[in-house]
């Protein structure tokens, strides 16, 4: 059958353009927030200098990469603050926010459940349990009192690796259970909730027998904090998050189909079980990387997609990029406030995400959808 007599409707094209403009606007906002976030702090740096330092620093580093012998300008104090402390922290906030949010939006779609997120499915709690095992059982935690961060872990890499392993274990168990029960979304969600409780109980059990220093180290690890990352770790995280974003975007039509119902999706040629399983693995992987580097950061993965839904709707073509931008915005804004609110002390960002996000989210829930 053929329908050849149609035209491309102008009103629809205008509608699509408006959706993308929202995403673009969010990106511009994110850029300005990045500059402001770097400029504020114990030492205040004018935004224009922040911008110049980032541009010049980037050019210097690229030149140094291309011509290993070239001499670099001696960095000033501001350059050091920007490049060693504030820029990696701000970028980590953006990358983690993007990753958690995109994992959340994908999970909500493939599980057909608005409560889907790395946190609800037990992946974050599995990571926290892994960290507790590492610190308490394997003895990788130790207290060191400094002003910048109250506790350090004497073997952060092992803690990260063990946390990552437990995140993957949780995912494997969820997938195994769902395999037995035929990849049903209800089973996946309920299995995730059960695992979440199990790992929380396990963490509490370990904490009960821990000494003061170990307990402090575990609690410190659990408060997700973007300040603990270095450039190499940031690179790994950015690589995984970028890969996941491309993967989810490539699947946007499949997720739209599943949103219309499993049977509709199957009728449209989508292999629903396979899309669901692979999507879960990718979402879990990106969450696991972020959680094991930064600790537990709840709320972003659950709520950012819903914030975006209220503004630009449920179509994954706009929802996925929109959620990425919103995740970056929320976590960067939270981290900036966390650094300033009780200065000179710095709060871990996880404390602030819910403080910042919940009121906005409740407002959006009450207001309903945007026309």
């Amino acid at each position: 059958m053929h329908f050849a007599d149609g035209t491309v409707p102008a009103d629809y094209l205008g509608y699509v353009r408006r959706k993308y403009l929202w995403v673009l606007g969010g990106l511009v906002l994110l850029f300005f927030l990045l500059i402001i976030s770097i400029s504020v702090g114990a030492v205040s740096i004018p935004p224009s200098d922040v911008f110049l330092s980032i541009v010049n620093g980037s050019i210097d580093r690229i030149t140094a990469l291309l011509q290993p012998g070239a001499s670099m300008d001696e960095p000033g104090n501001w350059d050091r603050i920007i490049w060693n402390i504030r820029l990696p922290q701000a970028l980590a906030a953006i990358v983690a926010g993007v990753g958690l949010s995109v994992a959340g939006v994908a999970m909500q779609s493939i599980l057909r459940n608005p409560l889907g997120s790395p946190f609800t499915l037990g992946i974050s709690n599995a990571g926290a349990f892994g960290a507790a095992v590492s610190v308490i059982v394997l003895g990788t935690g130790q207290m060191q009192s400094t002003v910048a961060s109250a506790v350090t872990l004497n073997n952060p890499y092992l803690t990260t690796v063990v946390a990552f392993a437990f995140c993957l274990l949780a995912t494997a168990v969820i997938l195994l259970i769902s395999r037995i029960r035929g990849a049903s979304p209800e089973v996946m969600v309920l299995a995730g909730v059960a695992l979440s409780s199990l790992f929380t109980a396990g963490t509490m059990f370990l904490q009960y027998f821990a000494d003061d220093t170990q307990l402090a180290a575990v609690v410190f690890w659990t408060f997700g904090d973007v300040g603990r990352i270095n450039w190499e770790e940031l690179g790994v995280m950015a690589f995984v998050v970028a890969g996941a974003c491309i993967f989810f975007l490539a699947n946007r039509w499949n997720y739209n189909s599943i949103d219309a119902g499993d049977e509709t999706a199957k009728g449209l040629g989508v292999n629903v079980e396979r899309v669901r399983n692979i999507g879960m693995i990718v979402a879990a992987l990106v969450s696991a990387v972020i959680v094991s580097f930064l600790g537990v950061i709840g709320f972003v993965g659950l709520v950012c997609p819903h914030m975006v839904r209220r503004v630009i709707g449920d179509d994954q073509r706009y929802l996925i990029p929109g959620s990425c931008v919103m995740g970056g915005l929320l976590l960067l804004a939270s981290d900036t406030v966390a650094r300033l609110i009780v200065a000179p002390y710095v709060l871990p960002v996880a404390v602030l995400t819910a403080f910042m996000g919940a009121p906005v989210f409740i407002y959006l829930l009450i207001r309903g959808y945007r026309r």
């Binding site: 059958m1 053929h2 329908f3 050849a4 007599d5 149609g6 035209t7 491309v8 409707p9 009103d11 629809y12 509608y15 490539a250 039509w253 499949n254 739209n256 189909s257 949103d259 219309a260 119902g261 049977e263 509709t264 199957k266 009728g267 449209l268 040629g269 989508v270 292999n271 839904r309 709707g313 449920d314 179509d315 959808y369």
Partner: protein, 272 residues
């Protein structure tokens, strides 16, 4: 002949749900699958586009064996309208555009948009294009689902109880639309139905399922009071109102005295 099914069997947990199903459909035909709840009408429909995988048998569509095609290939040839349609916050245009899923690569093209536009026009829904589907009525949603199946540009449409939750006007509208589209584009439609009166009016051929088998199969001549009583386990009166055949279940509460137990087929002027 556009679709032929032969020796089709389907097992669910080792229980035979469908056995030795065989029928064929010509271009331009609307076929109704009839039978009581749980007899396997929906199962049969899903076996025709491999949402369910039959245990054995052949489904041949326009010269191609569907078992040799992958799901995406089948979706380019068979449009499916399920019983339940989920809503979400997206426009009617986007919801229908989704039907192009089997045809698109990385993104939709102008060609896809033109087809969607033409289908909106064809179903007289131009005014609904940018409405959000989560604010729509059941009838409008059902039209969206049918439009979505049409933009797949299928050779055959499968519809699972397309009118089950609709009011009278919407039932007539939806079924008329299906019949018109089938005739105009010379495709075929297979639909499961519960309402025998609607089936009589709109379908060309009828397949009665009983206990996993085809009990009767053919044109209007196969629809007799005996067949319906055998299949549904309930005596009926078949009559004609304004030239349209109607079925009325016999007995039970709400029947006038004189028909409370009268068997067989008769003219039912009494109900005009």
């Amino acid at each position: 002949m556009i679709l032929s099914v032969d020796e089709l069997c389907f097992l669910y947990k080792n229980r035979e749900v469908l056995s030795k199903i065989a029928f064929s459909i010509d271009r331009g035909e609307v076929v109704a699958i009839l039978g009581p709840n749980g007899v396997g009408k929906t199962t049969l429909l899903k076996c025709l586009n491999r949402i369910l995988r039959p245990k054995s048998g052949v489904v041949n569509l326009d010269g191609e064996d569907l078992c040799q095609l992958d799901l995406m290939d089948i979706a380019r040839r068979v449009g499916y309208v399920p019983q339940r349609v989920e809503t979400g916050r997206l426009t009617a245009f986007d919801a229908v555009l989704l039907g192009r899923r089997p045809h698109i690569g990385w993104d939709v093209t102008g060609h896809d948009l033109r087809i969607v536009d033409a289908v909106f026009h064809r179903l007289s829904m131009d005014h609904l294009r940018l409405s959000y589907i989560d604010e729509m009525s059941g009838g409008e949603l059902q039209k969206i689902a049918i439009a979505r199946a049409l933009v797949q540009e299928p050779k055959i449409l499968l519809l699972d109880e397309p009118t089950s939750s609709l009011d009278l006007k919407n039932q007539v509208e939806i079924l008329s639309t299906i019949v018109q589209v089938v005739r105009q584009h010379n495709i075929a439609a297979v639909m499961t139905m519960h309402d025998l009166n609607q089936a009589f009016r709109y379908a060309d051929r009828f397949i009665f399922l009983k206990a996993g088998h085809i009990y009767a199969h053919g044109g209007r001549e196969v629809v007799t009071a005996d067949v319906i009583e055998e299949v549904y386990g309930l005596p009926v009166i078949i009559g004609e109102i304004a030239g349209v055949r109607c079925v009325i279940p016999e007995g039970g509460a709400g029947m006038p005295e004189k028909h409370a137990a009268s068997p067989g087929e008769q003219k039912s002027d009494a109900y005009v």
